[in-house]
Amino acid sequence: MAAICFDGVSKIYGDGTCAVDSLDLDINEGEFMVFVGPSGCGKTTALRMVAGLEEISGGRVVIGEREVNDVSPKDRDIAMVFQNYALYPHMTVAANLAFGLKLQKHSKAEIERRVQDAAVALDLEDYLQRKPKALSGGQRQRVALGRAIVREPAAFLMDEPLSNLDAALRVQTRGEILKLQKRLGTTTIYVTHDQVEAMTMGDRIAVMRKGVLQQIGTPQELYTRPANTFVATFIGSPAMNMVPAGAIGIERDALLAGFRPEHIRVGVAGDGVFGFEAVVELVEYLGDERLAHVRLDERLLTAKLPADQQLETGATIAFTVPGQAVLLFDAETGLAVDAAS
């Protein structure tokens, strides 16, 4: 176990593209840190720099007490789980798990023990003599995890490890990875583009965009206090509504008002409650709730309403939003503005 520290880390490719722009980030010992962002945001590049698979163009990466910029991947005491699992196709499951240990020159008995332990932990005992080809997607994924845990590394690096599983299996495996990580207590960096995955798994989440770190915080912090409009709309589903502040009756220039769909209710504005009128365009009945897509001026907003709330398509309805649920952002920079100021 070790803390990982990004200290002004940059990645600039030969053609001048900047994939990661001076990233500063501290990951605590034993923490489950999620890097999330749209594709091309630099999250995978950042992870690969920790792994030693990408050269670091600037700044330094520290694992534990040691700067690892010039340390080769095998000496960084990390293990990685790849998106497509990267299992060695010509080796059995047991050989896949043992390969790294053999190269580290562990004793036969030690290798045997660790492989056995990992197989038990991941429910792979019956498949040890099979080749990856003969396994299901979920089993391959577990072998990939197993290959990481047998190493007993200081940190796990996971690059979208669930993206090749179907939806049901993904939810189940999500839980298993979390349990495993909590039990082992190994520092983990987990890269995903799926904000739900990020929210459910991360102790803390780092949101990235175009190579720049947007915000870092616990899931709750990101959800309730997003640092800018990007984080606000990226985290949460359906996405946060974002309208000019004037549209809901906040008379301040050059501000955007953001509020989450679940905070909208039908009703009339009052003390401490902002209001607006909007045209109902489409209502989706989801059983436990209704999603109403409504038009305010030229903007489409989403409202999460109680299931018994009746709405007529095409009607103009008055909606409310409680004042404490409204976040303000600078229209120019997108940065969060303290509501009190």
Binding site: A51, L53, P73, N84, A86, Y88, P89, H90, G100, L103
Partner: protein, 309 residues
């Protein structure tokens, strides 16, 4: 997707749908005109293939154990005066065909080894280790595809007679055949394309597992490349078995010559029956090899339509 994987995929699909679809559909097959017309043509084709493909070899097998006089006077008669097995022992003992076949094996093995070493290590370096000047080297390799090896006979021959640096003639040494065989750009490029299509993630996983370049090559890349190794190996062995002109030039000592080089001389010096027996023996090894590795042969040939140099 690499040409090979692609081709295998097609084959598999082809095999699965063999009885189902194609140019002529199942429904068409039920029509009498198609069934008799096409079926008849195919039977005729099979008969023709047996006569053309197998006929000459069967004739050779027959003539190899027929007295020379019978072969000369009535070549198409089947054992008019019985068989003459002494041709075979003559080919083995007097002509010493066994020695020349052994020479051919030695030459083929060395050429194969040289080609495999050059192609696998070179392609690994170019594809996986990707040095900065890799593109230059690849371009230089591609250029050699424009120069068929036969037109280099003269400079190669002069080089082997008077090698630069080492002032010792390679004439009558097997090295003169083995080493030039390694300079096959076709092998390197086909191998490189295969390596290019192996998933990079696996190499990265191996690096994190602690594999250096050598370990990566031996434990990961080579085992994953068995199909292409098979194809290249078969073509290397077959090409060296077939080669005539180059070994003729550089191996002037008859006791070192391969069977292909030796046969024309034997033809002029030996009784026809014995000579034909020697020819039959010379055919047997490649034919048996073909029957064993038929799938790889055919797969490789289909592939060579895509990128033969």
């Amino acid at each position: 997707m690499s040409a090979i994987q692609d081709w295998q995929g097609r084959r598999r699909r082809g095999a699965m749908t063999e009885s189902q679809q194609g140019l002529v559909q199942s429904a068409d097959w039920k029509r009498p005109s198609v069934r008799w017309g096409l079926g008849g043509t195919q039977t005729a084709l099979l008969v023709l293939l047996v006569i053309v493909g197998l006929g000459p070899i069967l004739w050779l097998a027959k003539a190899a154990v027929t007295p020379t006089q019978d072969t000369l006077s009535n070549p198409m008669a089947i054992f008019p005066h019985g068989a003459d097995w002494s041709n075979i022992s003559g080919a083995w003992n007097e002509v010493d065909i066994g020695l020349y076949i052994w020479n051919t094996v030695v030459i083929a093995f060395g050429s194969w080894l040289c080609q495999i070493v050059v192609a696998t290590t070179g392609a690994f370096a170019l594809s996986v280790l990707a040095p900065k000047w890799g593109r230059v080297i690849t371009a230089a390799l591609l250029t050699t595809l424009f120069v068929p090896s036969v037109v280099l006979l003269v400079p190669l021959y002069l080089e082997v007679v008077h090698p630069p640096v080492i002032h010792h003639s390679f004439i009558n040494s097997y090295w003169a055949v083995w080493l030039p065989a390694g300079a096959s750009a076709f092998n390197v490029i086909i191998m490189k394309r295969f390596f290019d299509n192996l998933p990079r993630e696996i190499f990265e996983a191996a690096r994190i597992d602690g594999a250096g370049p050598f370990r990566l090559f031996v434990s990961i890349v080579l085992p994953m490349s068995k199909p292409i190794l098979g194809v290249v190996s078969i073509f290397a062995v077959l090409a060296s078995w077939k080669d005539f002109l180059w070994p003729l030039l550089v191996l002037s000592d008859p006791s070192k010559q391969p069977v292909s080089v030796r046969l024309p001389t034997i033809a002029g010096q030996t009784d026809l029956g014995v000579f034909l027996a020697a020819m039959l023996i010379a055919c047997l090894v490649p034919i048996v090899g073909f029957l064993i590795f038929q799938r790889s042969f055919l797969r490789g040939t289909g592939l060579s339509g895509a990128l033969k140099g």
